[in-house]
């Protein structure tokens, strides 16, 4: 899976948790989940669980801690996908 493919799928993961649909359509590596997408921190666990289900991976605590923006989110998913192989 390429970064672009992961990014496209991630938009679907984020969609239920952001009201900023305009920003969602144009997210990039630097997009901050809380500051830019206005995702409430209370939904971060939902996003991690939804991402785990979508990619059939497990995101541990230390990896979850790295998820700050879209770029680090893709990094973690790519890393876990590689480990699953």
């Amino acid at each position: 899976m390429t970064r672009t493919e992961v990014l496209d799928e991630l938009k679907k993961v984020f969609a239920p948790y952001t009201t900023n649909k305009e920003m969602l359509a144009s997210i990039n590596d630097d997009t901050d989940l809380i500051r830019d997408l206005k995702i409430n921190s209370a939904n971060l666990v939902d996003i991690i669980i939804d991402a785990e289900a979508k990619y059939d991976i497990e995101i541990d605590y230390d990896s979850a801690d790295k998820i700050i923006n879209v770029g680090t989110c893709i990094d973690v998913i790519m890393e876990k996908l590689t480990q699953e192989k």
């Binding site: 009201t19 921190s41 209370a42 666990v45 939902d46 991690i48 669980i49 785990e52 605590y61």
Partner: protein, 222 residues
């Protein structure tokens, strides 16, 4: 350490089914914390409320620590709630009204907790109503100087939540200190600070919002 931290959870916004799933709550609670729920007083607290109570305590503690340590990471299971006490004769009631404000929690049905984060010990006071959970934290277990507020708002978009919670806090600060011209801003790390006349006002504050609720806390003495 002088700081402030609070968090608010709208219970109408939580997914009860998902919260009760082990894969969900295990990302928030450690096994030891889950044991706290087996204490006798918690029989009147639904498990989903317990999970989100601990989330709100941990999030408030994270905000408290982040003011002085911007690099602190929010890994919920590393914010360890070691003690949590249910108020005597606790029963779930409705929030009622549009807003409430207070100083300390004397004679209120408050859940008192202790959180350990590395070498730091933080104390929490939380209120649970049918509609919401509100937690504040402090560096000691005396909440006499902790001022707080909870308000229901009529729109849930982030810009509105942010504007209303700032106005709510500014109104309280200006009444409390009998001043005007207070401004709330945030630094690049998202930590709120208070300005008056362009200079730091010297009061540490914390803001929170979730769906139709906003909250604040601040400490009135050093």
């Amino acid at each position: 350490m002088i700081s402030a931290g609070n968090d608010i959870i709208s219970l109408s916004a939580i997914d009860i089914t998902r919260t009760n799933q082990q894969k969900f709550y295990s990302k928030i609670l450690s096994p030891e914390e889950k044991e706290i729920y087996n204490q006798p007083g918690f029989t009147s607290v639904p498990f989903e409320n317990f999970v989100w109570l601990l989330w709100s305590i941990k999030e408030a503690a994270y905000k408290y620590l982040k003011r002085h340590n911007p690099g602190v990471a929010f890994i919920p299971v590393k914010f360890v709630v070691t003690e949590l006490h249910v108020p005597n004769d606790y029963s779930l009631t409705s929030f009622g009204g549009k807003q409430t404000e207070g100083t300390g929690f004397v004679n209120m049905p408050v859940f008192k907790g202790i959180i350990k984060v590395g070498d730091d010990t933080i104390y929490s006071n939380s209120l649970i109503y049918r509609e919401l959970i509100f937690s504040t934290v402090n560096g000691d277990d005396d909440f006499e100087n902790i001022n707080w507020g909870i308000k229901i708002i009529d729109r849930v978009d982030a810009e509105y939540q942010s504007a209303v919670v700032r106005a709510f806090l500014i109104d309280r600060l200006q009444r409390f200190f009998n001043v005007d011209g207070i401004v709330i801003d945030k630094n690049t790390g998202g930590i709120p600070f208070v300005l008056k006349g362009g200079a730091e006002f010297g009061v540490v504050v914390s803001l929170s919002h979730h769906e139709e609720f906003v909250g604040y806390s601040f400490r009135s003495q050093s």
